[in-house]
Symmetry: C2
Subunit: 202 residues, 2 copies
DNA sequence: TGATGTATATTCACTGGTGAGTATACTTAT
DNA sequence: ATAAGTATACTCACCAGTGAATATACATCA
């Protein structure tokens, strides 16, 4: 009991995740997904009311896992704040060197659905990116940096720039360059305003 | 007279430009393009051997105009080097506030065709971005900055980050944030190494 | 001059295939 | 038996690409 749908729906989502991420949204049909999930298209329509609905669910399913990963990379990194920020970029470089890497699913979906600004998946994507920015802002606030919002925004720009640029050039080295720029900006902010009374943040 | 082919091919390219940019590659059919160009689909196939071929031509047609625009924004801006770099971002903010703006066509195409790394359009896109990076590098070299390649790469990352982030959030303010980060990095590079002998760059 | 040939440019009508979404019926556990 | 879940088989629209024919321009030869 309490297991009204042990499988199907999860299998659909898993298949959708792999296919949407690796091939793109419009390049994948619900027939493809149904086949990969080992069920019928009609079953997909039983669990999701439309393709758009499934696309939204795909991004929702990636939201927390991705954020958790970023936080983990940050918190487990050695060194000071600049190093912790840079660690996120270094880990992205590692991911990007895997042959199946195809950029950021949120960014690619947003690019593909740019002609549908009201699409539910666009909202999920924007919310995801905003959560990341807010989390960074809070980390910077926690150590009393000046202008934590502006700094967080700069890091976010470098991160999404890294995703895009690596994808265009198929060259993960851009992540390291982004990491260098990011840690330089953090360091600069720390020197300017480690803040009110406490000159060292360690 | 003496106008054997005054139109067709150009009209196709113009239509492709508008539709591919505003709707995306896979969302647009050659029927759509033919209709917009006021000709028959077969005529499209007379001038372009396939849809992929037309997609490539679409990006090729944007390469020089875009680069020229960036150079113009840079060279016509008042102020020092940091201001000139920032000017590119400010102009992008202006563009991005137009309702028809849909991000960078090269980046969006790369995102959509990420599952076809060998696609001719991907090569055009990568070459375009590389040209921009090289041009920036040369500008930095011209004023004897240290590590001009690294700095150019940082600016490129911020620029593509701005394109992506603005698109996701539909908020052109990110371009200004990126411009601030960019000019800070340029300023920092100038202070470190305005170079050999001349400690002040003004 | 004019008839004919040839390359360029364009159209209409089509094919084979796939896409999103649905009508209907079957199955199985409670 | 009844409701959730799944399947078969379908509709209708669209799409990349093609076959065959036509129109136009220009050249060359008689």
């Amino acid at each position: 009991m309490s297991r009204p749908t042990p499988n199907a729906r999860d299998r659909i989502l898993t298949a959708a995740n792999k296919l949407f991420y690796s091939e793109g949204i419009r390049a994948v049909s619900l027939d493809n997904i149904a086949e990969k999930a080992g069920i019928t298209k009609k079953t997909v329509y039983y669990h999701f009311k439309s393709k758009d609905d499934l696309v939204e669910a795909y991004l929702v399913s990636r939201d927390q896992p991705n954020l958790t990963l970023y936080r983990k990379w940050f918190s487990e990194a050695d060194g000071g704040l600049p190093d912790k920020v840079a660690a996120i970029f270094l880990q992205i470089a590692v991911s990007a060197r895997h042959p199946k890497w195809k950029g950021c699913g949120f960014l690619r979906t947003a690019a593909e659905l740019a002609n549908m600004p009201g699409h539910p998946a666009m909202k999920v994507g924007a919310a995801h990116k905003k959560k990341f920015e807010i989390w960074l802002t809070e980390e910077f606030q926690a150590v009393d940096l000046e202008q934590p919002e502006a700094l967080a925004r700069h890091i976010v720009l470098l991160l999404d720039g890294a995703f895009s640029t690596i994808l265009v050039h198929r060259d993960a080295d851009y992540a390291e360059a982004a990491g260098n720029a990011a840690s330089a900006l953090v360091l600069c902010a720390m020197q300017k305003g480690p803040v009110s009374g406490k000159p060292s943040v360690k």
